[in-house]
Symmetry: D3
């Protein structure tokens, strides 16, 4: 897709005002108190795989309202002592997949945790049953989640998912093989949104994030996004409002509690973003909108001729270099 | 879409063997006993509309597991005595819509009931909140339902929906303005599937159906359908099995409890089908598969050059003539 | 389709200058004198249908040059005295359909007339032969009607159609069951254009319109429309000018006699518009262009996330409320 | 488009039975008597062009019912004596274009006539007004010409066009520069249909055709064609029958008077066909259906990997060689 | 495609600054010295065709680095003395085709030369083997030629092609039947780019161009073009930069030696451009960018409602009139 | 894409006759003698990456005609002694990518070699320059490699690529860290074709393959494939033959030296195939055609509802289990 959004020059300074409710912080404080403050009950079982230089585990923990959530953990074999960790959040429709499919960071020397986003996984199933969403009761069914419970922030799907995500970071920080001071988070698209949400919300659980790498993050600047692109999943919101035009402000109010501009504005860790200028799925202006509000030290990689695949391997390498530099500072 | 399925001559005799589990009837008997035998608690509140020759009501009743389900009722004004009734079931993604949108049969002199399929309505919202699916917790969210709970028949979405549908027929039969001996059911696509399911299952609730008009019915002969067409919603099943190839037989087993071939084989009332030979959404061979198993008196209207829109107004007129003839027989 | 036209703020004030020929009014005055002043020769024959609360009739009248034009009339049964009336004009490609397909207003208590636009009906046929267009001469026209006779205003298809449309309003006003002071007109897309044309031209036949409800009206601000959208039927004009680039100004001159901005500027009745901001078929700025020139009292309903389907049932309800309020004023 | 029709082996013998009415010949005899027997009133005016080795003329003649029809004539300059002639018929939507656009055969030494098919030309306009179709009356026809007047053979568009086409051949045969014994006809797609129609019908006007080259001819074996392809213009018929399903046999009856299988079966001249096996617009089996019924000496060029473009320049060369061989035989 | 680029008013003055390297002229001087200064070794063999008023020849000459390049020559028969000549350059993917396919100018009285662009011809093959590109070395190039050798200007495909093109003009000027003072060049799309390149570079070989007609020329203002359109072949560059984002400036540097803005700025002959405002393949602003830099006398034909087909026959006629006027001036 | 090829039952026995030239083996024997028998000149340089549990190297060797070809090698860290090895061949358009992108087998304990297919890499570039194809001469080829040099087997692109591929296996077998008796090869799509080609041709270089895992392999049963699917890259051949219809048999002859049916028939090692029944890119019948000719022990995994993505992670796991079982047998 050719350029369809603001020009590079406009993007470089595009920082729309936050569109957040007055009680944003209270909402999330209350959310974590009432639905995310119980015990983690973390479990970690070895998984048999063909991996020769990594150890793989199925992990689980209690997420929102004590629902059990699943994921993977991979540890590099033959490295002693506490490890830096990367928690990886997954893109829309993607479950955790097979235990050997998300191991980039473990191969790079990190303890790598991967979430199995509740109810998702319809693009890359796994031979084990995925995590259900007891607030919704789907498990890897064919889509979609963008308007599930969207009539009020209390019932919105992403409220449950973001609590799950923060609590995985919390579990990672407390893992015996992990050096809690060297806890990084990352993800692309919906995974980038989860990473930013964790960056902004982790303090509610007393977790400190050492760095957040968000690639082409989703769920930012909803008001602009849903009028700017016909691509799913943003389009799910427009489809819904085509059926219920009278609910537009109600839906916008719900989404304002989940906007990455607001999450970014509450982040404290260093941040690395990536953006692709021909990306219709997470249009560049919406990524920049979050980026410019990001409150930590930050930088952004721009891929002018790419779509939602973003920088691919180039960005993987960039993240590794960025993590290594951060980690070196932290390890001293 | 040009002809892509069997030839007209092949269709005329296409009756694949039933693909049903041995405990099909026990499954449904148990389902109604355990989840569909409580009180209906039927409610009926007048709705203010602009209708001058009809009276409109919002109705509700207790469906599967006592979940409250909603719908509309429209009554022709100025006609005395008990009325024949038509229960109308809606297509995939469609909610009940506005109270004045499904009134064809009321205008024709019938008490017309319309279901608000639980959790659906993302194509035509209504200013009132729609029916939730407490077994799923969605209300008019953007799709889909074909694989929701598909791992076992007990948890499959359509188990709940079919119980709701039968119980609406039950409620209609018991309505004070309705002549229970003249209770007809109808619907197109998913609505045709619901109508056939009610035709096949109504006896579990002691309801007698006087006629079933199923247009281009969905959910028939799943094994053939999902390999024959790329059109949604059948494609949801193929998408799911692309992500979980190891679950194919498990999914097929679940679907075998919900196949219209088996429902049709248990129908007792007269039946009127319609089929369109260029219909990719409910391919003609799958419609004929149900038709040829239909156990009641039956006839089928064939629209050779139409797609899933089927016969449109021609079929509406055809159904009215068919209903009138049946009704005349019953009224004597 | 995402937003592609002016912003809501720009639309709210978008009122391009009229692009009309100096002899616009003379053209239409002469048209009605020479081609639309003969006797109506109105006929009205009962039609057998399944309708129990309405009476249906096939009507006909003499339109442009005395060509016979057909339509339906539906009357609510059981209401005494003169009725308010709604004349409904149909969308591009749509004929009058079946006599029970356009009855919304009759069910609401109005005498409802429906036109069978000459030569149209290829999307929803009727078992009766439709109206022919004896005036049609095509010469290198793009298939469809937008460029049929477009080389001069005298021979343009819509000249004949608009005369037919005005004369149906005239016939409705004179109908024995109709209260001529309570004559409303409505339609969507091409039907909205016909309604606006009748609102602007009815005085040439001495007809008084009590209200005009135009949904997502077509044929407005042609110069902008044909460069703004690739959607048909506007695209028929661009296709024609691609084949005959040297005729652009000649075609634009013809169209300037048929532009809804000019028709709206001559309307005297109250007007209700609807517009959808993701509508590629009748782009929002073209609808606003007509709206802002509308000379009567007016209001507009905006559907931000809808395409050409506009407000659907919501708008139907809106129109009924609007009609009821107007009618109440008129009936007192 | 990959192979979608019969296999090459099946095609080689695919000769479905003729599907023609008993009065086919009477119909056409009467047509020519009543609508095609008047004077030709041929005109021929030089046109100013940039052509240096050809002379170009605008020609006209009286076609069906005495309607004036137009075309071009190009003559090679500097060749003495009577010339062999090629009458070229044009594809659907194409008018005669510019006088220098269809000159292949004139450049090759033939007098080349080109028809301006009545009412067509919306793909390649010409600065001169094209031929009108004064006989056109549409009533719910699908835009385009395939269903214009299709309710009976008397009023069908192609009846008029085929008479025009035969009479152009007649005019060509009588032209002072033409050797009437060396009169060839050709065309592709709709032009191929016109050529075959002329081959089959020319004897009604006493015209002798010396050779007929029909490339990927259209309008053959309608019953098969409209169910085999979604491509226009065959699809116009299916669209029409989707709107008017009850008219299928009536339409098929009309088309049976215009089927190239029947026209081919009446041809007497040598014939050269071409067919492309990936052609969705005129599917190969329909071309072979006409070919195998062709009554003259015949051969066919097969282009296995081409679509409707057919053999392009290869076939042009093939036709020239074929014409040259025929012409040599005739000139001796 | 609706208007997607600048407005007509903006286009009329759209003249972005040249984006050319300081050594542009040295690069091309060196290129011709080192790779384009050897003998032409022109050959000219009669070809047997069916052409009766033209003589056709296969020509060949030595292009870049002495590689042999092929083409056609057509001469009008029966015209004495030296002829004006037109060298025609072909569009992307097009080879020279059959010897009778590009004869418009020969038929108009010119000696017409046609290039067989090295390595191209995959859309219209010829029964003779086409010209190879012995200089081609691809390494991770996007299929096609736009990025073949794009890492440096020395190895870029178009360097070789433009030298071939200039040397064909040189050969034409030296042909015995050609009046070297009346040498015109033309082409559309890539052919328009070749024509402009020859107009700008011909002086390196001492060739004088009498007029250059460039229709919808390609390869102009690359920086804008690749972000403005998704259409191929410009998109090949964006595809390449999506795979190699780190090479963007390197690629842009290479392309800057081949930009038609710079070529046009070096032209000396009169120039005739055409532009289509709905052209996605060579967007109008990029055509105007070259036009406004064109250094010779110039005019431009604008086709507002056309796509990349441009003015078709209208523009052919326009070019012939323009050539005739120029030629008349030159012949005096 | 729904099922479009043979039924599962037909596929299970679909073994079309080999379509191979009599001198197939001589051709390849001569090819290796004349173009593939020189020294390997293998190089292996460490690459700096972020990999903590693997060591990465850039490797190169001399392929066809001594052209230098590149690739990656990854070795699991901390495992002593000779390793089993996997040589991975890449899909069409894919280069070797980044050194950390193809490490599945290294992570599983194998020495993993990855080829950088000459001239490819336009979908996933690498910051290092890729391998050139000095043998490439295109002449009217369709963009891409399927028809590059296709006029004779000597010059066909894949002749060079297959020699490169065999010689990488040879180099791997001779690597100091590799146990030559445990040399496996794998790849998907074009990579599957390369793997099968190596399985069939390795004996020309005295290399013994211990197992060949070919996923959804390409380049099998060309005659069927190019008429069965419209998907690229098979479609490149059909596009070429549309431009050069007269070359069909010549092209088929060339391809017959490169058909996987023939390669499979010469394989000696155990083989594991995968096939997806909705795969348009490598249609299932073409995969089975190779499978049924495969001469070694063999098995095939069938993914009924997948397209060309095949079994994804499921198949990766399947391959690992298969390799482990083979390796265990070999290691004893």
């Amino acid at each position: 897709m050719a350029f369809f959004d603001l020009t590079p020059a406009e993007l470089a300074t595009y920082a729309p005002e936050l569109d957040e409710p007055a009680d944003f912080d209270q909402f999330w404080a209350r959310t974590f108190e009432e639905h995310g403050s119980g015990p983690l009950d973390f479990t970690c079982e070895p998984v048999e795989t063909h991996l020769a230089v990594l150890d793989a585990f199925e992990v689980s923990w209690l997420g929102f309202d004590g629902h059990r959530v699943y994921g993977w953990l991979a540890l590099p074999r033959g490295i002693e002592g506490p490890l830096p960790a990367v928690v990886q959040y997954t893109g829309y429709s993607m479950g955790r997949g097979m235990p050997f499919e998300n191991i980039h960071f473990a191969v790079g020397g990190y303890a790598q945790f991967v979430i199995d986003a509740r109810g998702q996984g319809w693009r890359n199933g796994s031979p084990k049953p995925g995590s259900e969403d007891p607030g919704l009761r789907t498990s890897g069914s064919v889509p979609g989640f963008m308007t599930a419970g969207v009539l009020d922030p209390e019932g919105y799907y992403y409220r449950r998912l973001f609590v799950d995500a923060v609590r995985l970071a919390e579990a990672a920080a407390g893992h015996e093989r992990v050096d809690a001071d060297r806890l990084f988070i990352t993800g692309g698209s919906q995974g980038g949104a989860m990473a930013l949400a964790v960056a902004g919300l982790a303090r509610h659980r007393g977790v400190r994030i050492a760095g957040c790498a968000a690639d082409v993050p989703f769920m930012s600047h909803f008001r602009r996004a849903i009028g700017l692109t016909d691509a799913y999943p943003y389009k799910e919101v427009a489809d819904y409002l085509a059926a219920y035009p009278q609910r537009a402000e109600q839906v916008m109010r719900t989404l304002s509690y989940f906007d990455m501009m607001s999450m970014a504005a509450r982040a404290e860790s260093p941040g690395l973003f990536s953006v692709a200028l021909m990306d219709q799925i997470t249009p560049p202006s919406t990524v920049y909108a979050a980026y410019h509000h990001y409150a930590g030290d930050k930088s952004i990689e721009v891929y002018p001729f790419n779509g939602h695949e973003g920088g691919g391997g180039y960005q993987v390498e960039r993240i590794h270099r960025w993590l290594a530099a951060l980690d070196e500072g932290l390890s001293r």
